[in-house]
Amino acid sequence: MSAYILYRHRDIPNLNQLDVYQKNGGFEAIKKAIKTMSPAAVLNEVKDSGLRGRGGAGFPTGMKWSFLPGNLWPHYVVANADESEPGTFKDREILESNPFQFLEGLMLAAYAVQANDAYIYLRGEFWQIARRLDTCIEELYAEGLLGDKLFGTKYSLRLHTHLGAGAYICGEETALLESIEGHLGQPRLRPPFPATFGLFGKPTVINNVETLTNLPPIIEKGAAWFKTLGTEKSPGVKIFSLSGCVNKPGNYELPLGTTFRELIFTHGGGIPDGRTIKAIMSAGASSVIVPADDRALDTPMDYESTQANLNAPLGSASVIILDDSVNMAWLVNKTVHFFRHESCGKCTPCREGTYWMSHLTRRIAAGEAAPDDIDLLNIVARQMQGKCLCALGEFSTMAVTSGIEKFRADFEKLVNH
């Protein structure tokens, strides 16, 4: 019996081979769904499970699906495999080592909303992974698990991969849709939302790779089983990508609600070189910097507790550890340069704001700044907040304002007095 739910390949060798996956219960869920369940029944099971999106926002998956109108066709499902947030490397392991469970999950989502075509959008750097997925998909057609009239029903399904080409913004769901359509990867104004006007102008569901990989076990074992894991409002397990100043960086599949302390010290082996932990970022480079006091370390990592205790979203659960050797002004310079590089340039506050912030953070980190520059940086960041077209602009300010608020001394240390 495998203890893992998503990373089952860690218990079962060669799970990325179709015959091995099938021998271990693979494709039983999709067979059960298509042969014995109505699309609405699949949707309701997922809704009842309480599964929430693992791509960042934590939006309830079943509810998202239910927004698709029944009088506009065709419907599309898009898997978000863009995985580009600094500190996030969880989906890649699924795609490389347990690809069929992900594909089966995508098929379940497609069946639930009656989509006949589904797309997998992968970041361009995952080109070898995309090539392997193409082979997996070919095998599924050959086995009769994809294609026309599946399992003797009227339902048909085709899967397609589509490679991005090096743009973090394409992980944002509307920029992703633009990118598939062959346009610049720039977010759309909302409304309309993808649920009514998505890919090729049709109702579309976009889900993260990890979200989709949860679906086969949910359909196989039921919503009640799923809810026995995790917390009441954040059921299930989550893959935490642990990185930075920690002995054993890596992916950890743990129940939602596990504390930061357990992740970092029990699983991650603590802080190297006898150093002490200084701060945590809970959602990759997009997150606020949280001082690692006891209150933070004892916070359960679920969507509600992280937000309530730390005023920080759990996001994609990419936990970056910062030890006492890290200067936060140096860190902020890194994150701001990332966002400046990745700003798509569509709206002025983000395009100009990330540009100006990057000048200030560079000056500060290089020891060339005047004391006033710290407040100026803070003002630029605060002026951007609430004014950007998409969340990237907002993300770019998170480390800045929290860093200055919580670790001002680090900035003061570097400016000329």
Binding site: E83, S84, E85, P86, G87, T88, F89, D91, R92, R123, G124, E125, F126, W127, Q128, H160, H162, L163, G164, A165, G166, A167, Y168, S179, I180, E181, G182, H183, L184, G185, F200, S241, L242, S243, G244, C245, P249, G250, N251, A285, I320, I321, L322, V326, L331, K334, T335, F338, H341, E342
Partner: protein, 173 residues
């Protein structure tokens, strides 16, 4: 005569078939990859041919090439060795690694070795932060990951790439 289409008809038709009938534009990114893999970079002539196939303007295709960082419209070095120096990797010594690697090759970040084979670049997170230092190598129409690197291991890989390139030249000649 659209040479790109003639030479790749089957592949192009397969790509187009993944998108709704009558909507060709979504094929622009896959076609650009196809061109890049064939020639190492995207030539102006091919760009125009792609525009013609998709019935959009060359300017529209060029804007896609300009927006996305993985497309190259200039030859550059044969292999782009791209080191991630984003925050999580930087916390594990990536900046130092990049510097040492460049020192070993006697070039600066962004430059190409004298034989035109290796260009060293700095890139953003590659979704391998737990295996820092790491880099990807773009070249010969492929992208490969190299994780948990040391400067010695990287230098060895570079020697292998150079040997591979020399062998290719040899068989082509």
């Amino acid at each position: 005569m659209n040479e790109f289409f003639v030479q790749n008809t089957e592949a192009i038709q397969k790509i187009l078939s993944a998108y709704p009938a009558g909507n060709k534009r979504p094929a622009v990114m896959p076609l650009l990859y196809l061109a890049q893999r064939t020639n190492g970079f995207i030539q102006k002539k091919t760009l125009d041919e792609i525009a013609e196939i998709l019935e959009i303007t060359p300017t529209e295709v060029a804007s896609i090439v300009g927006f996305y960082t993985l497309y190259h419209d200039e030859p550059g070095g044969r292999y782009h060795l791209q080191v991630c120096t984003d925050l999580p990797c930087a916390l594990r010594g990536a900046d130092r690694f990049l510097q040492d690697l460049c020192d070993n090759l006697g070039i600066k970040v962004g430059e190409t070795t004298a034989d035109g084979l290796i260009t060293i670049e700095e890139v953003k997170c590659l979704a391998g932060c737990h295996h820092a230092p790491l880099f990807q190598v773009q070249g010969d129409g492929d992208i490969s990951y190299h994780e948990d690197q040391t400067v010695d291991a990287a230098m060895q890989l570079i020697a292998e790439l150079k040997k591979k390139a020399a062998e290719r030249e040899g068989t082509n000649a």
